[in-house]
């Protein structure tokens, strides 16, 4: 058995780890855990920093072949933040049974869980439909909670709005323009793209500062700016308009897919001088991969609601438990009125989202070349990148972020650059130190971005990627990714 003690918080960390080990041993001695299982068991103890997440106290992930045959790989994940010594044993037994222990088939389903879907990649899970709904109906969610989504962020506001950071960004960009002009290469139209607009505040401040600098230095670049504000939510774009009102003549608002800006903006291939995004990558569909004993396993998930929670929600909203799944789909299609009133529909949405958990299983990646890796990544590249990574590790594929990156870079002018403020795992071994999502933030879903993998992919596509810690707010977990051309 291997026990991994990831970052554990608080004075009780040692004691809680001990309780987990004691519990496992007692299960072994009682014959509730087989010796072979025990020998291959890997237990990870995490401290989940997101109070709202998809985990039970204990979850167990059994290994399977793609044909559903049982493999002797079993991971047990324990959230020490939630551990209660008195119930741990029962939680552990339940998790092991669910994972497909000796007397259960993998798809039997747990009577204590109300299933919302079948096993699939996290990327294709229904939880991303909820994420999409949140951004599409942000106004409804905010009206119900009485607070904007930025107030839910750890610092109470987005790092994207930090004035000093924006001022530095403006200076860097102005310097680039000056340099291009000195080489007689400054285009007549200067395109910049804000990918994911948020409230529009950052873009508004950026333009204010750029205009001021341009006037002081008398360079007259400002009128040549063409600012594209791109977001996949029309509602969000509308909310951002007031923030850039003063610069309306320069701005174009575009509905676009953050994972494929090139699809909408192909007419600007090789023309955009700066692309910026803040906290977009951490909100793009993602999935996880486990490397164990030299083999790769794909983490498949199945969303559910704990039956006790489902029964409670059913009573509150006057819906039968067996109809919850259908009611949830109506909400995802925007049918809030079906619950008597929009407010009641939104309340149902919020309760369901809060209750959703994920079961998981590990499926062996047998035939790597056929696995649908995101653009820019294939089995051989992944192998290369993982060459120096720890042997047993679970990490994000960050497939949405990778796709976005690969479909954004062709838009850049030869001297253009991409700047991304986000939460990055910058060294793959960091995955051995803690939990990096998925978590819930209000109605959205949050994953740290595997920056180490993104860097490896970028290098092979002709870009060096650099990460700089965000130095403008103490305690910020944000890093800034920026690209330089690889020669």
């Amino acid at each position: 058995m291997i026990v991994k003690l990831n970052h554990l918080n608080g004075k009780s960390a040692g004691a809680r780890a001990q309780v987990v080990v004691d519990t496992i041993y007692s299960l072994l001695e009682e014959g509730r855990l087989e010796h072979e299982q025990f020998a291959r068991l890997q237990i990870e103890l995490d401290w989940i920093q997101y109070k709202q997440n998809f985990r039970e106290v204990v979850i167990a992930s059994q290994g399977y072949t793609p044909r559903g045959e049982h493999l002797p790989v079993l991971d047990v994940l324990v959230d020490t933040r939630q551990v209660e010594p008195t119930t741990l044993r029962a939680d552990m037994l339940k998790a092991l049974a669910r994972a497909g222990g000796p007397d259960r088939s993998q798809d039997a389903g747990d009577p204590d869980h109300v299933m919302l879907e079948e096993f699939r990649s996290l990327r294709h899970s229904i939880v991303w439909e909820f994420n999409k709904l949140y951004w599409g109906r942000l106004n409804l969610w905010q009206a119900a909670t009485g607070k904007g989504y930025e107030e839910a962020l750890p610092g109470g506001q987005s790092d994207g709005h930090q004035p000093e950071s924006i001022a530095d960004s403006v200076c860097d960009f102005w310097t680039l323009l000056r340099d291009l002009e000195s080489q007689n290469q400054l285009p007549a139209e200067i395109f910049i793209l804000e990918l994911g607009v948020g409230t529009g505040t950052r873009c508004g401040i950026w333009l204010d500062k750029f205009l001021a600098l341009d006037r002081i230095r008398e360079t007259n670049y400002y009128p040549r700016l063409r600012v594209l504000l791109g977001d996949y939510s029309l509602a969000t774009l509308d909310l951002s308009r007031p923030a850039v009102r003063e610069h309306a003549d320069l701005c174009s608002f575009m509905v676009l897919d953050a994972m494929n800006p090139l699809k909408t903006l192909s007419f600007l291939r090789h023309k955009i001088l700066q692309v910026h995004s803040t906290n977009v990558y951490d909100n793009l569909p993602d999935e996880e991969v486990v490397r164990r004993d030299g083999r790769l396993y794909f983490v498949q998930v199945r969303s559910y609601i704990p039956r006790a929670e489902a029964e409670r929600i059913a009573v509150v909203f006057g819906v039968k438990v067996e109809k919850l799944r259908a009611s949830m789909h109506r909400i995802l299609q925007g049918g809030f009125e079906d619950f008597g009133s929009v407010q009641q529909g939104v309340a149902f949405w919020q309760e369901i989202w809060k209750a959703i958990r994920l079961e998981e299983r590990l499926v062996l990646l047998e035939d790597l070349p056929d696995f649908p890796f995101p653009e820019g990544l294939d089995a051989s590249k992944l192998d290369d990148i993982l060459q120096d990574a720890p042997a047993d590790i679970r990490f994000h594929l960050s497939s949405g972020a990778l796709e976005s990156f690969m479909n954004t870079m062709p838009l850049l002018h030869p001297r253009g650059y991409l700047q991304v403020q986000d939460i990055f795992v910058t060294d793959i071994s960091q995955y051995r130190l803690g939990f990096y999502g998925p978590g819930k933030l209000e109605g959205s879903l949050l994953n740290w971005v595997n920056g180490a993998l993104l860097k490896g992919v970028a290098e092979r596509a002709g870009y060096d990627v650099h990460f700089v810690p965000f130095r403008y707010r103490k305690g910020s977990k944000t890093s800034v990714l920026y690209t330089t051309r690889r020669e």
Binding site: Q185, R269, H270, P410, H413, P414, G462, R485
Partner: protein, 333 residues
């Protein structure tokens, strides 16, 4: 061999298969031997030639599949250039290289590549080399007083190599100078060096000038106007320029300046995986015909196909051939 009107060819490189990239990396990691790698290269060259022939090109190259990038294949053959062989992370990276003394005259050993190509095709063939201006930009100069002096000596060595290629039967030679566009201020001395390179080389020589294709992306933007009038002093038969991606605006330079050059018109955009239709290709050629007679035009992609997947590269070459045939038919040929 007589070429038809509007001959079709490629710029030099053909698609680099993913499996060959991995094997090159395996060689650097010492997992396969040099001997095995050479056999793999031979097979890859034959496959690249076959693809070009099947697509219908009139003039083929060896696909440059033996080369890691535009530069290193020549730098590691240039006498007197010191290379840090540990400086590559990926095979495609450039070596760190330097000159610390005068470059001696010695063969680069390119003739055997040409002879290998000739063994496996009946079509007209073209041999491509990277020019001294580009090579000079990638070598750290610790000896010569300036870049022009270094480039001049490189040109002298390569001139000897070009003569050897002609002696071996090469009739069409292309010199790649992708860095002209990045350093337009060099153009006057770059043309002088070019003339040293081609001095008394009895072949049809064209110069390929693009806006860069590193990692399948342009390195610079701008207009070919910087080439004129200096390039008119170049003692070469023609130029090959990129027009598909950038549009045909710069074709008007050939109306404005009375050159005698033949022009290789880039009619395939190699920086996108979208495959052109034959009609799109034909439209590019018709645009070129407004400024030059058909006898002075040949058609090819904007730049090398190195970064394209093989199926995409092949489909693009087929479109190139079909589009050119449409225009030949319109011209009654």
């Amino acid at each position: 061999m007589t070429l038809p009107l509007l001959p079709t060819t490629i710029v030099g490189s053909y698609a680099m298969p993913g499996w060959l990239e991995r094997l090159k990396t395996d060689y650097f990691a010492r997992r396969i031997s040099r001997h095995d790698l050479e056999e793999i290269y031979d097979s890859a060259v034959k496959a690249a030639v076959k693809d070009q022939e099947t697509a219908g090109l009139d003039m083929v190259t060896d696909g440059e599949v033996r080369r890691d990038n535009t530069v290193d294949y020549f730098i590691e053959r240039l006498p007197g250039v010191q290379i840090d062989r540990s400086s590559k992370k990926f095979y495609y990276d450039f070596y760190d290289s330097s000159v610390q003394g005068k470059i001696p005259m010695a063969s680069l050993g390119l003739v055997q590549d040409y002879q290998f190509l000739r063994m496996f095709t009946e079509r007209e063939s073209k041999f491509c080399i990277t020019g001294p201006h580009c090579l000079t930009k990638r070598i750290r100069n610790s000896y010569y007083p300036n870049e022009e002096a270094l480039a001049t000596d490189i040109a002298r060595v390569m001139n000897m190599e070009l003569k050897a290629l002609v002696k071996a039967g090469a009739r069409y030679i292309q010199i790649d100078e992708p860095y002209y566009s990045g350093f337009p201020e060099d153009i006057h001395w770059a043309v002088k060096v070019l003339n040293i390179l081609v001095d008394e080389v009895d072949a049809n020589i064209v110069v390929h000038i693009c806006y860069g294709n590193r990692y399948g992306k342009p390195s610079w933007e701008g207009s070919y106007r910087y080439l004129f009038p200096a390039i008119m002093n170049a003692k070469v038969k023609g130029l090959t320029l990129e027009f598909a991606r950038r549009g045909g605006e710069d074709l008007d330079l050939f109306k404005e300046f009375d050159t005698k050059f033949i022009l290789g018109v880039g009619v395939i955009d190699v920086k996108t995986h979208e495959v052109e239709t034959p009609e799109m290709v034909a439209e590019h050629i018709r645009r070129a015909l407004k400024v030059l007679p058909p006898e002075r035009i040949f058609t090819l992609p904007d730049c090398g196909c190195f970064h394209l997947p093989r199926d995409v590269a092949f489909a693009k070459l087929q479109a190139l051939v079909q589009g050119t045939r449409i225009v030949r038919k319109e011209l009654g040929k």
